[in-house]
Symmetry: none
Subunit: 205 residues, 4 copies
DNA sequence: GATGAATGAGGATTCATTCAT
DNA sequence: AATGAATGAATCCTCATTCAT
């Protein structure tokens, strides 16, 4: 496609350089923490020169924001794909719960960035709770509401509160797993957690 | 009470200086974030010279650790005092939930330190999840267990998981409140949250 | 002598406090070096409060200057006392050489202060070469001159140069001993050094 | 000589930056003393940014050590070159004496660093008396020994002691010159000092 | 596009000195 | 006279970012 003569970083080389930098950042942030992470360390982990990072990103902070945005977007997209064909509220919650635990449980470094590094400051925390995460909470809330409307879930519980509670439970599970020295697979808890949540939501007979 | 003339920095002057420094640290950490907080800013907030901080603490990090330890200790002690005379598991959980939301809901700066600044690094996160917090989780777990044994709470739910879930829900409520731009009193949610939790635990009829 | 009622630091207590501070300073300077020595360390070594040092001295620098001045004065006085009854130039040089090596060889901490700490800066070096030390060099020079006049010492050697040479030799012997890990008595070299010097000065037959 | 266009900081630019920093350090150490010397002053003297110094050296202390090591190495190498073709012990000593006085006498700032700043602490003093300086003393000692074996120098004098004495005399001459306010050329004393030493060593007739 | 040498702002901490008691 | 808590000036070094090549 490129008929240029000289170097001509093919599309993919460029893409992979950007990805390598992001991956390097995830690993270095997870290992050292955002504030202690050195840009030069990230460059080394990515196999590029320090200055190269600034060709792709605005700086250290932009790396963190980008990691958050891209992973959250991917996360939401794949979740929505999985939910597309499922309308049953209970099943939808089970899928969401498993998806949450699987996504972060499959990449400890990414989990550390999500559970620890992204909460470095009020600024990031706000970022965290806006937009994408708000959308995620909304998705949970609507599912709860629809379950209540269908008479599947107990009414009387404020759907927004329930959505936050589910998020809080999942968040705590991930954090707890991430800090644990035992190496259990996080997704193994999906059924238990789903049982807990659905039991809590279930209509008493 | 002291009739002596000279003795100088009476017990309380010294104590209050220490407290002023800790309070200054809470406020500056909440405002600027731990890493961006300048020791000189804390000193100014406390009304002491920069160097004075080092007469009372080992450094910036020690301030954060001390804030955590002392508040958590106080928190646990006052909770245990409130629970001393209460044996009914439902009532105990209601008290714990309200206590949690009240403690952090009455001091936004402290809440920021707890929800954000203490989670700066894996190191602090670990600190956070050890000892005092572990004791707190344990208290919740034992209450759940005793409710299950008494037939008040649904069996089949793993008590440790339930304890984590309760903690996760509370944690999320505090974070959500802390980040919210609305100024609602956090403790007002105590009943709702307690209902949510107790409903989830209740034995179906 | 003091009929005062209360504390009444008797003459000697005061004197000894001053001496204790100076001795503490010699030891701490020798151990840590002048710049790394902390005033509070000296106070501790002397068994007084930090502030007390400032009742007796103008500060850290004054301590070093005072140590130098007082020891050098004592040194010169005792040397002059020993030389008072001796007129023979050879004997006078032998006495001076032994006296030099004995004085510093009997107190390694003091030797360190003299050979190392006093040479911290051009300012101290100048102090070192002025006044008392100049007087010492002069004493050596006059002895050499008188030996030459008497025909005991070879003429043709510039007396001032010889005096500096003798001082240089002695200085090097002290430094070498001070740095040596072996624990030989420095004064044992007095005769050898004196032989060396006197041989060099002796008239060829 | 280099026809390449881009390669950037040519060997010499880099080398000269390093040299400029070292020279700046010599001057600032001589002017202010090691402890009072500010790294930023050295950077200014060298015409580089503060941080640049840390690209070439480990820190302030490393600068002092490097100055010492490199100058001493150069000194010894040029001395050995001068002595290579000279076997006569008297001539060898004359050359060594002149070389010593010339080297330090041609650079007052360097002399200050050698005579004053390097003796800041026992640690540096030890450095000073190890390795290179030990090699220098050895060279003097062997020359004395060989003169004694040849019957040129008086026996009965301990060669090691004589070597130290020569070093002490030279050291004192340099210090004395360095502190003097008169601006006499130090090397002018070479013959006088050599006469003094050789006279002292000469066999009586 | 890529490099990496150079920059220089920024801050935690130490410690000599003061002074109220 | 003695204390020692308090002060606050002073500086080394790090590291995110730039830009000439």
């Amino acid at each position: 496609m490129a008929h240029a003569s000289t170097p001509a970083p093919p599309e993919t080389a460029r893409a992979s350089k950007r990805e390598r930098i992001l991956r390097g950042a995830v690993e270095v942030f997870a290992r050292s923490g955002y504030f202690n992470a050195k840009v030069s360390e990230i460059a080394k982990a990515a196999g590029v020169a320090d200055g190269t990072i600034y060709l792709y990103f605005d700086g250290k902070e932009d790396l963190l924001v980008t990691i958050f945005r891209e992973h959250t977007r991917n996360y939401l997209q794949s979740l929505q794909r999985e939910l597309a064909a499922v309308s049953q509220p209970e099943a939808r919650l089970r899928i969401a719960i498993r998806h949450h635990l699987q996504s972060l449980g499959s990449d400890r470094a990414l989990a550390v960035v999500y559970q620890v590094e992204l909460r470095h400051s009020l600024k990031f925390m706000s970022l965290f709770s806006q937009e994408e995460v708000a959308e995620y909470l909304d998705l949970l809330r609507r599912t709860v509401e629809s379950g209540q409307k269908d008479g599947l879930f107990r009414r009387g519980l404020h759907p927004q509160l329930v959505a936050k509670a589910i998020f809080g439970i999942l968040d705590e599970m991930v954090t707890s797993w991430m800090l644990s020295e035992k190496e259990y697979p996080l997704a193994d808890q999906a059924d238990q957690v789903a049982d807990l949540v659905l039991t809590g939501l279930s209509v008493s007979r």
